[in-house]
């Protein structure tokens, strides 16, 4: 296992690497991690299995790198939006809806590629959280720990009277709602007998923000009412 640790990269090698990466993204997205073989990825990338192992070391390495490659820009955009909102509010606590906008909008942007809405990618992200593969947990911790800490700080500022425990629970629900909605997005069409469309990603994100914000606020209020009774 001799992963290419970015020494001197031949132009052609970079091309190959990217071809493997995007082939992997397409295949893992539509068929899951266990349902795709390295041979299929290599064939779709126009190369062979040894090349994929040369660049990524293993199947796990390929999956991790693919997720990182896609998720890191989304998280950067989330932090950018949050910082922008903070700057715009002039030091005052942010409303929950603003916070959740910063959390959810970048997902929609990422899923609205140049070739039309890529709602399959949203499935992949949602699924990557429910797959039992233990190596994914480390990736998620590395990719999301800092992000969730920062968002928790903002929620605390906007709800100074709320109990820490309740904030954790409800941010957890917001994230779970987001992941569940992303992962099960496709099911909406047959479920609604075609009445609802899964192609309009932006509409879903907008609805999701309202839903998550309403759920969060209702739950926090409920906890407050219980404490006061």
């Amino acid at each position: 296992m001799m992963v290419k640790e970015s020494n001197k990269a031949t132009p052609r090698a970079i091309v190959t690497r990217n071809r493997i990466l995007s082939a992997a993204e397409h295949l893992f997205t539509t068929r899951g991690f266990a349902g795709v073989t390295m041979r299929e990825v290599a064939r779709r990338a126009g190369t062979n299995v040894a090349s994929a192992h040369y660049h990524f070391g293993s199947k796990e390495g390929l999956i991790i790198e693919m997720l990182r490659h896609r998720i890191a820009p989304i998280n950067a955009e989330r932090l950018r939006l949050l910082k922008e909102a903070k700057h715009h509010s002039g030091g005052k606590p942010l409303k929950p809806l603003i916070i959740f906008k910063a959390l959810l909008l970048p997902i929609g942007q990422a899923a609205t590629g140049s070739t039309g809405p890529d709602s399959r990618f949203m499935q992949l992200v949602g699924r990557s959280f429910t797959e039992p593969a233990s190596f994914l947990e480390k990736v998620h911790r590395r990719l999301f720990r800092e992000l969730s800490d920062i968002f928790m700080v903002e929620l605390r500022r906007s709800h100074p009277a709320a109990r820490e425990e309740d904030l954790f629970w409800n941010l957890h629900f917001v994230v779970a709602t987001m992941l569940g909605a992303l992962a099960n997005h496709r099911r909406l069409v047959p479920f609604s007998s075609g009445l609802c469309n899964d192609q309009n990603v932006d509409e879903m994100i907008q609805r999701l923000i309202v839903f998550a914000g309403g759920g969060f606020t209702a739950s926090i209020e409920n906890a407050k009412a219980k404490a006061n009774q």
Copy 2:
């Protein structure tokens, strides 16, 4: 492939069948569908692979039967609670919170077994929706189509002014929230640095009901406000 179509079942055969079923549930629950082999299931059940194939025909057949065996009673309880609530309300439309209680409480009951909370099973249900295996979609349609139709009828009655499309979207979100929360339940503990507990399933369900109800209502109100503007 000669599935046992319930002709005459020897007592010992029933025992074997149940041992395979519960071994499968434990293993698939902790390691996912693709991560478990028929040999492992058979070994844990104290028998061999051919026996498992004799009783369930194939790995898919075993998974389907395991899911059906667990989910069917939950759905029956959901319908019972809904009918009970309707009888209690005397023909008047049900409040969303009551409807979602009927939808969510039975999950908590199922996950609170005699041997302590079985939060792993909730993961399995949540995961079964995000696994890309196509054969699962048929199972889900068969297991959940009638149920969701009935719950939609009740939501329509409680929101006669709402657009059909909005009701579908928001019931979809409620289900997505439930599945996402179930599937990612375990992550709450490390995420909250141990502050929140994942052992108290009932607490989670109660919080989930409030969250889902709040999100649903907020989103419906938002749609109404948009239509009126």
